[in-house]
Symmetry: C2
Subunit: 356 residues, 2 copies
């Protein structure tokens, strides 16, 4: 039975990515070798890396604007410390917007490197909205924000104009909507939502912001080293990068970010309309900050939980349970989730209403 | 045509690992979902992680001896700095044995954290042997060595007895030979030789050595955090870990490390015997330190290079070119390389002799 995969990440990827990557494990590029056994220095893999790095900049509209794309490892969690290591001046400070669990983890790691100013936090309201009134210290080394909060179902709809470098963790909504990406000086994202399987991390950096901290940085954590080695400072995670390239190619063929944005808006509208209409449900995030990637909602009456859970499971839906910090349900509608899967969920919600 | 894959890493893995992992990308455990789209918190993947961690300790004979196995990311290169971060006391020192390029990289990263004493180095002889006469400062926080030097074709056949924690980078020969692994306090290894595809790093730690430095450590670089979170501090590289589990299962079914050691010795004997016998070739590493994983050798007369290269390529051999630091040839004979592939190379070497 076809599954409707609402997993919050790692998450659904295009079916053609599964098929092509499985084939490449049996025989990559008709080489007689598996993608899992080739050297990362082989001509075929160097071509994968180069195409993936170039395609990222093309899709984001950042070609020829002084940016470099890197495929690293360690997850966004390693970027939580690489960002301050590479950008926070010795005896300097950095500004952070606290919009959820991951923003909080980034703040904790930054504290190892210097003063960390939290300009605003929605923690007292269990992160149900994005703070909008705050000022960023002009002497901060950078301002850091999280564009989408997977756990709490909120998403930044606009970004502040800053006179300090703008750094953004876009792990859970990169490549999902049109933004002026040139506003950002550093973007990072774990692959495992819209870009590919778990195991690689995209970092997009405006090169001119680097090398200004006065710190000595271990090579492996130094963005300038990774740039100098063309994202091959050490053996990269070959297969996750290859599967990410396949996913980026799928996105390009679909029409790029502008095309997927329309689809994502249609999916989110379909589900949020039902959440607002159906008296059995209520959303948890402030309406103006609702995420188009992760819709979080509760049953008005918890007594219906057993019945609802049985119904969506019977419909082939998986991964709908909410995070323990919020409870209820979380429908993650990443790029590769078809609108048909959203319709199945909406149908189940309406069916529940009829059967109560 | 079947390839004989001598790649130095990433490298050949068992054919059944390719087949099972390709299948898991199309449908994992008959779940209707791909291994690439399931949550790392799903029951099925938690079981993968637990089995992989337990199987590592079982294969190394370290069960119940106070060790923890972790599957991290970032490659051995990230361990170059995690080791001093976690083990080098504030204002302390660490002792290193310099046996090649990777040992040297580890030393460079350690210098960021404190005094780094190089107890011996074979660099003046282009790392063609393993230094044996040296003393380890008794006040060092640990002693670090590299068990096998992929580039230079040398391998430590014995390890010093130390009164400080013994740390070893076993990236290129772990699971290839029987050792008393309980002599070691920390072992790390990039997966991409004998354990799996590129993208994860095994760390095996005697837990009692941790937490003694007086340093504060960013969470993501703190072994104690990773242990507390059962190797799931953040989203792990799901697929590389799954493919590593399949490779470890293959090794266990074969009879474990003792069984593969016999096969590896037979392969190495076959090739080194031919290198020593055939007047056209000479080995580059000191005989007593020769690696059973990577055999490095030269043509006595470089004029034969074109002919030899054409012959081994025609025989389906790939990945035989030596590293630029040594030149000539490097035959990497990791666990999954069948002895039949070594025989094909020996046949080509003998064929060349007849045709000169």
């Amino acid at each position: 039975m076809k599954k409707h995969n609402y997993s919050a990440g790692p998450c659904i990827l295009p079916q053609e990515v599964f098929e092509k990557s499985a084939q490449s494990i049996l025989d990559f590029n008709n080489s007689g070798l598996s993608i899992l056994e080739i050297s990362h220095r082989s001509k075929d893999f160097v071509a994968v890396m180069e195409e993936a790095r170039a395609l990222v900049l093309e899709l984001l509209g950042l070609e020829g604007k002084g940016y470099q794309a890197l495929f690293l490892s360690g997850g966004a969690s390693l970027e939580f410390l690489m960002v301050p290591y590479n950008l926070m001046k010795v005896d300097g400070k950095a500004a952070y917007l606290d919009t959820g669990t991951w923003a909080n983890s980034a703040i904790k790691e930054a504290k190892h490197f210097g003063e960390t100013v939290v300009v605003a936090s929605s923690k007292p309201e269990n992160y149900n909205h994005i703070p909008k009134e705050y000022s960023i210290p002009t002497d901060a080394s950078y301002f850091h924000c999280t564009s989408n909060n997977t756990i709490f179902g909120t998403q930044m709809k606009s970004f502040p104009t800053t006179n300090v470098p703008l750094v953004c963790d876009m792990s859970s909504d990169i490549f999902s909507r049109v933004l002026d990406f040139s506003k950002f000086d550093l973007i990072y994202a774990g692959a495992q939502k819209n870009m590919g399987p778990a195991g690689t991390t995209l970092v997009v950096i405006k090169e001119e912001i680097l090398g200004k901290t006065g710190r000595t940085i271990p090579n492996m954590l130094d963005y300038q080293q990774h740039i100098a080695k063309e994202s091959m400072y050490n053996t990269p995670p070959v297969f996750p990068i290859y599967a990410s390239l396949l996913t980026l190619q799928w996105l390009k063929n679909l029409g790029g970010i502008a095309a997927i944005e329309k689809i994502n808006e249609a999916k989110a509208n379909l589900l949020y309309t039902e959440i607002d209409r159906n008296p059995l449900f209520k959303g948890t995030a402030a309406k103006e900050d609702r995420s188009n990637m992760n819709a979080t909602f509760l049953l008005e009456n918890e007594a219906h939980q057993e019945k609802f859970d049985a119904m969506w499971k019977a419909a082939g839906i998986s991964g709908l349970a909410g995070h323990r910090s919020v409870g209820g349900y979380r429908a993650s509608m990443y790029n590769a989730l078809p609108i048909e899967s959203v319709q199945v969920l909406v149908d189940v919600m309406q069916e529940l209403e009829k059967n109560i």
